[in-house]
Symmetry: C2
Subunit: 213 residues, 2 copies
Amino acid sequence: MASALEKARKDPESMKGKILTVARRIFGEYGFHGTTTRMIALEVGIDISTLHYHWGEKGDLYEAVVLDISKDLGQELIKVEKRIHGLPLQDRLAISIDRMTEYFFAHPEISNLILFRYFGKTREEAGLDFKVPEFTADIARSMGLAKDRQNVPPDVMMKVLGMMNSIHSFVCGENFFRPMVNLDRGTYIDMAKNTLKFIHIPAFTQNTDLTGA
Amino acid sequence: MASALEKARKDPESMKGKILTVARRIFGEYGFHGTTTRMIALEVGIDISTLHYHWGEKGDLYEAVVLDISKDLGQELIKVEKRIHGLPLQDRLAISIDRMTEYFFAHPEISNLILFRYFGKTREEAGLDFKVPEFTADIARSMGLAKDRQNVPPDVMMKVLGMMNSIHSFVCGENFFRPMVNLDRGTYIDMAKNTLKFIHIPAFTQNTDLTGA
DNA sequence: ATGTGGTTCCATCAATTGATTGAATCGTAA
DNA sequence: TTACGATTCAATCAATTGATGGAACCACAT
């Protein structure tokens, strides 16, 4: 049933919505196994039975969170795509990196959950995924690096993945990295953006072909 | 007591050593909370009480794993540093990326645990860390991007962090990314290396200064 | 007020999990 | 062989955790 999720997404003030919001954050911070239903319920200020009443078992709530985030991300990607449509590659890259970085820093639980999904195994096999392959191919296409979303060359996929992962890394690693460079949050975000642009734009615009095996 | 760890490191065939080896992998795959002492014991083929006899409580074993990996990584960095000493920047970067990528792909649990350490919260506060700040500063210095390991400029720190994280991402994300690009392991690793060099070398060698706020 | 459907919480359960105890086992030196 | 320390395991405990049942509560139409 996507109806439960749709209702929660449309009415964030409802109990379903409040639980979903908190669950996104807690699952993002602690991962699936590190999160207990009691942690979420406590944060919302409700009993665990209320949580189960609305979302079923823990795994179902987690799937709802993944789906919720996947939808948000998809919407954001469409917005960015419209914004950059028709611009020269250099500008498309710069604007995309700025906006996506801004977006993920505003919603760090998205980056957190995506990285957890990539890297961490769950004891019970997880069925649902983040549509990362589709999103990645879409980004490649909207960047003008591939004609259509099918048949994106592997090296382009790798570059796009590398770029997205770089953003996620700076977002998820903020608690760890920011004390290292001793910057306030705003400056850290700006520096992340500039570093990302500085690093990744040349990778897509330079002509030298080093990617051949 | 570092003596227990030292013994395990010197004699990987000992029970302490076998447990440590398995623990590295399992903790890396499932994270701290996702790993149970029974999973480790089962894999080693022993009883959990034997595991506790050798390593104390779960958190102690995890700390030993972190310390173990930190030492391995430190040794590898020293090797790389010797290898690239005196070479021009371009070569230092290329060789470092090749070797570090090769190394992490050969020991993916190191990348896994580092990323878990960065990104995931543990319910009980973890005391020990990976000496990432020191390592990062060391890398910056050995790259010739800073005079000494103190006072590495923030933008250089960010670039180095970005580079290291990119490597970890390709390593940790292999199970997720490789099916997307449909490559065998060797080709995937080669393409990761080339992509990393292609992306990061220009970031350190080009003159354009985009990092200023 | 009365009933009804939807919601919430208290009490509780079963399974999992980290950890310990005490008995058995093994290697080895006397 | 015997004795002793080190190691291993079966059995067990207490705490945590996911999940449920049933009573209480609430809003609202009749």
